[in-house]
């Protein structure tokens, strides 16, 4: 559980990070922020980046700001910062992110970039139609969350692009996220998030990306899931969990 050899670089600015990514493009560079997923994958040698570009020294990518009808969260903001910020569903959902030490190091942008299909940030971004603002050699662009996630660990992000911030609509609707795992802090077996205003649900753990459904009807959503029996978890159980969790999320979101 020791990583393969890599070179370490520290970026001092957003532009500097993009420059490093461009410059090192042939050497399989990878951005590191909190490192809560990447370092574990490197230790198992499942990820073998040739270069790590550390962006934690960039000082203008952290923080939460309400900007008219937008809520902007800097990519380097930690889960724990959001948890303590009193931001409705976003703060409440953070209790499901790993354990306290993970929330203290892990970042919002890192979670979005990692694109685990049960990750709370990916689900929240899809549910609330967040936009992912990224910076590349040609300048910055915004990608709708609905178009960002392509599969596990696979996103619309180009190799030389950096996630700068996540932009949520403001104010936030009545919404909630809930999960089930045998152990607290684990990746969810199934997770459900609901938005009562727009009557939509996002499910995690039922497909390769967060699944958006335009319904709050737990029975209907569960029945409509395209899930298969897997070792230790039948499709029936997964549907049952989805049904329960949608109901509970709706109850939690309801005033």
């Amino acid at each position: 559980m020791k990583p393969a050899s890599f070179e370490f670089h520290r970026a001092r600015s957003r532009a500097g990070a993009v420059e490093l990514l461009t410059e090192l493009a042939d050497g399989d560079p990878k951005i590191i922020a909190g490192g809560q997923s990447l370092v574990a994958m490197m230790n198992f040698r499942l990820a073998r980046p040739g270069h790590l570009v550390d962006i934690t020294g960039i000082d203008d990518m952290t923080g939460i700001e309400v900007d008219g009808d937008r809520l902007r969260i800097g990519a380097l903001t930690t889960h724990r910062t959001v948890e303590k910020a009193g931001l409705g569903v976003l703060s409440a959902a953070m209790r499901w992110v790993g354990h306290l030490p993970i929330r203290t190091r892990g970042t919002v942008g890192g979670s979005i970039a990692h694109a685990d299909a049960t990750a709370e940030w990916c689900m929240l971004a899809v549910l609330l139609d967040a936009r992912i603002r990224v910076l590349g050699p040609a300048g910055s662009r915004e990608i709708a969350a609905g178009e960002f996630f392509h599969g596990p660990f696979w996103t619309a992000l180009e190799p030389d692009e950096l996630i700068v911030e996540i932009v949520f609509p403001w104010p936030l609707p009545p919404a909630a996220l809930t999960e089930y795992a045998d152990r607290k802090g684990d990746f969810a077996l199934v997770a459900a998030a609901v938005d009562l205003d727009r009557e939509r649900t996002v499910l995690g753990g039922v497909g390769p990306v967060p699944l958006l459904v335009d319904s709050l009807d737990a029975e209907e959503i569960a029945a409509g899931l395209d899930v298969r029996d897997e070792p230790g978890v039948s499709a029936h159980y997964r549907r049952g969990l989805a049904r329960t969790l949608v109901r509970r999320a709706v109850a939690e979101a309801s005033p």
Binding site: M1, K2, P3, A4, S5, A40, F44, R45, H99, Y180, D182, R183, K184, G185, D186, F187, P231, G232, V233, S234, H236, Y237, G240, L241, R243, T244, L245, R247, R248
Partner: protein, 790 residues
């Protein structure tokens, strides 16, 4: 640091919850574990491991490994030429088939993760780079991944010498006429249960730092083992050294739980590499290796029938136990460890008049097994407690009342399993445990909430296995006794050796308490010496809850012998009869109103030896040993769990856990409680969370804590512990073993509680870890009529 004395109310150290002497260093990061040892010029090892579950090794090519930057050397089995590790039972071939475990795999691999070659490099990173460059060609053989596949007609053989992949097949007991008892019985209940494969999971993984010392002409190995002398014997034999040329030193240990009471292969290979290179070599097992390639335990299948009369009294027990021991027989216990334990002890606390048992160990292409805290007892107790619950349901008798009718109440009790039980508090612990739950209102809450269930487990645990008890198991290498050397220095302070070995159980504190009382000196004037084959005469280490019962008794005996010596010298100096002297409890010897302090006696013994009596040798030391002559001493406990099930998810929440334990006289009640709490957490882990699964190809499915679901503090409930005290008649201070009980009771209590909470569903679950989906489905089906009615 000065400390307030924490004397027990009787003025003795024993019985007082004095602070653990280990804590200041451990809690401030000043402990020294194997990985803290850094020697000049030290190299780092990593192992090339099998990627196949079952295959012939066609070739091992390490040439590319040796080219990797930073790699110093790489050795295969052929390069090191070490002797195999062979563990034996003294049983005929139809009962036990001996098999060899090579230090590095030779012609064949038998599980994914099996070590094939050792790579030695300048740092651990380069060692892993080197490992990746190894080229091993395999000729795959059919993988055997379950006990049923192992026993199937025509199955591939994991060890060619073991037909039907059976290493142990022993029928220890078969009461005559037992079939007639079943035929005539009022009620017969049956339990078919499977328990999941687990990892004992010490926080500190395995590891070793080895170096050849030219000055001492010794191979010095620092390693975290529970059995240093046994490691010395195997290492010396394997590497062709004299035992005097091997020194095994155990620094602080972060747990063992049995996983480290067998001799591992990697430690031997590491030491052999250091010997070959004449340079220090360190190997620290990483967590992924610990989960997949160390020693596992507990995968067992039970088919058990029990006959009861109309009053709920058990009449007969018939059990078939199959243990999946994985790829190899562990040294020194062999693959017999689990089936023989289950067979010998299964009747437990109950008056079982007729008993028949067959215990088998099968070999499969999974990581091998070692003893794990409780050894089979968490499993057979779980099965017995399921028997009791099922009988209670079938007969309409309250489950606690049914147990009360069956537990042994008169002692000593000679069991159907040829074991004599010394006095315990089986019924008393049941009564108190039930009372605690009643007082706390849990039966009321169960009455008003159908999702709440209460489960009990009543059990005893044989502790302090002496050589006689192990010999009965027919081990070829028979553990049992302990021997202790004690020495008093000039200033009256004492050093005492123990052949047992604390790997977290605070023997430095508890043994010091025992010795302090014997000599009448403060417990911090007593130093415990352990875990060093050059400093300790001999030892069997710590396992099977033997340390306080046997090691503590040996330490007490050596202290008493030293006390006698002090009295003999003092009597001579004071010119009185020895009989008229006594230790005064304050660091001196008294005769009437005259007194000599230990320092005054020590001064004579060392500095003015011409004043000693003629037949007394200079110095102040003594050696004494202790063995348990009979069948050991039985600790006992009743555990109860209260759970609430979540019908929406199948989730299980433990609302309350109560443990009423009796380990005789607790030397240090806080230490006993720590043992109980930690054990209970491991038992809960087995009931609800942990399992090492393999796929059909024999690939392990748990290589990290993401897949191996060890519970965290969030999953472990508050535990209330109540003590009962039935002293043992033949150990020092009347202590019984306390190391394993927590682990033994918890799976049964939790499983019974879950089943109690399923009482309205008609579903019973007997396998662990309990699948949440099974709970979900049971509750879903039970709720269906209600949904229709609505």
């Amino acid at each position: 640091m000065t400390r307030e004395p924490h004397l027990h109310r009787d003025g003795t150290w024993v019985g007082a919850s004095v602070p653990r002497r280990e804590d200041p260093r451990l809690l401030t990061g000043r402990g020294r574990f194997v990985d803290d040892i850094r020697l000049p010029g030290m190299l780092h090892a990593a192992f090339v491991r099998s990627t196949e579950a079952h295959a012939r090794i066609a070739s091992v090519d390490l040439s590319a490994v040796r080219e990797v930057p930073g790699v110093v050397a790489a050795f295969s089995a052929a390069d090191l030429g070490l002797h195999d590790i062979v563990a034996l039972l003294d049983r005929p071939l139809h009962e036990f088939v001996p098999t060899a475990m090579p230090v590095l795999a030779k012609d064949k691999v038998r599980f994914v993760g099996e070590p094939i070659a050792i790579v030695v490099a300048r740092d651990p990173y380069a060692a892993e780079d080197g490992r990746e460059a190894a080229v091993v060609e395999y000729e795959p053989l059919p993988p055997i991944t379950s006990d049923s596949a192992a026993l199937a007609e025509g199955a591939a053989l994991v060890h060619e010498e073991a037909p039907r992949n059976t290493l142990v097949d022993v029928s220890l007991f078969a009461t005559e006429g037992i079939d007639e008892v079943f035929a005539a019985a009022h009620t017969v209940v049956e339990v078919r249960a499977r328990t999941g494969r687990q990892n004992a999971l010490p926080l500190e993984t395995r590891g070793a730092v080895a170096e050849w010392d030219d000055r001492d002409e010794q191979l010095r190995v620092h390693t975290c083992t529970q059995v240093p002398h046994q490691v010395r014997t195997v290492l010396a034999a394997s590497a062709g050294l004299d035992e005097k040329e091997v020194r095994v030193i155990v620094p602080d240990m972060g747990g063992g739980f049995g996983l480290k009471c067998v001799v591992g292969r990697e430690e031997i290979a590491t030491a052999a590499a250091a010997l070959r290179l004449r340079k220090p070599v360190k190997w620290i097992e990483d967590r992924s290796e610990a989960l997949t390639a160390s020693f596992l335990a507990r995968e067992q299948r039970y088919t058990v029938r029990a006959a009861f009369d109309a009053d709920g009294r058990i009449q007969a027990l018939d059990a078939d136990v199959v243990c999946d021991m994985g790829a190899y027989s562990c040294y020194p216990f062999t693959a017999g460890i689990e089936p023989l334990m289950a067979s010998a002890e299964m009747p437990g606390v109950y008056k079982v008049p007729a008993y028949r048992v067959r215990g088998r160990a099968v070999t499969t292409n999974k990581a091998p097994t070692a003893p794990y805290r409780g050894v089979s007892r968490p499993q057979y107790v779980m099965v017995m407690e399921r028997v009791m619950e099922k009988a209670a349901r079938a007969l309409g008798i309250d489950p606690v009342e049914l147990r009360r009718r069956n537990v042994i109440t008169e002692f000593p009790y000679r069991g159907v399993n040829d074991v004599t039980y010394d006095p315990g508090s089986y019924k008393e612990s049941l009564d108190l445990c039930e009372q605690v739950l009643r007082d706390e209102g849990w039966f009321d809450r169960r009455g008003s909430d159908p999702a709440i269930g209460i489960g009990f487990a009543c059990f005893s645990e044989r502790t302090g296995y002496g050589s006689g008890a192990f010999a009965q198991r027919k081990m070829a290498v028979v553990p049992g006794f302990d021997v202790s050397e004690i020495r008093m220095d000039l200033d009256g302070t004492v050093s005492v050796t123990t052949g047992t070995l604390s790997h977290g159980q605070s023997h430095e504190t508890t043994m010091a308490q025992i010795v302090a009382d014997r000599l009448g000196i403060p417990y911090d004037k007593v130093k415990i010496v352990q875990g060093d084959t050059d400093r300790v005469l001999y030892g069997w280490g710590s396992f099977a809850s033997r340390s306080i019962t046997i090691g503590g008794s040996a330490a007490a005996a050596s202290a008493e012998k030293l006390g006698e010596r002090l009295r003999v010298i003092a009597a001579h100096l004071m010119d009185v009869d020895v009989e008229s002297t006594e230790l005064d409890g304050a660091g001196g010897v008294r005769a009437g109103d005259r007194r000599l302090s230990f320092t005054e006696i020590a001064e004579v013994a060392y500095l003015r030896s011409h004043l000693l009596p003629k037949d007394v040798e200079p110095g102040l030391s003594a050696t004494a040993s202790f063995d348990v002559g009979g069948d050991g001493t039985f600790s006992n406990a009743t555990h109860a769990a209260v759970v609430r099930l979540d019908p929406g998810t199948g989730g299980v929440e433990i609302l309350r856990y109560v443990c009423v334990e009796d380990c005789g006289v607790a030397i240090n009640p806080k230490v006993v409680e720590g043992q109980a709490r930690g054990g209970i957490a491991q038992g809960i882990a087995g009931a609800l969370f942990e399992e090492v699964r393999y796929d059909d190809a024999g690939q392990p499915l748990a290589a990290s804590f993401m897949e191996y679901k060890v519970p965290t503090a969030a999953e472990i409930p508050d535990v209330r512990i109540e003590h009962l005290e039935t002293p043992c008649a033949f150990t020092a201070n009347g202590a019984k073993g306390a190391g394993e009980g927590g682990t033994i009771g918890a799976p049964a209590a939790v499983l019974n509680a879950v089943n109690d909470a399923l009482r309205h569903t008609g579903v019973e679950l007997d396998d662990t870890p309990i699948p949440r989906e099974a709970i979900f489905r049971a509750l879903e089906r039970a709720a269906e009529p209600a949904l229709e009615a609505r």
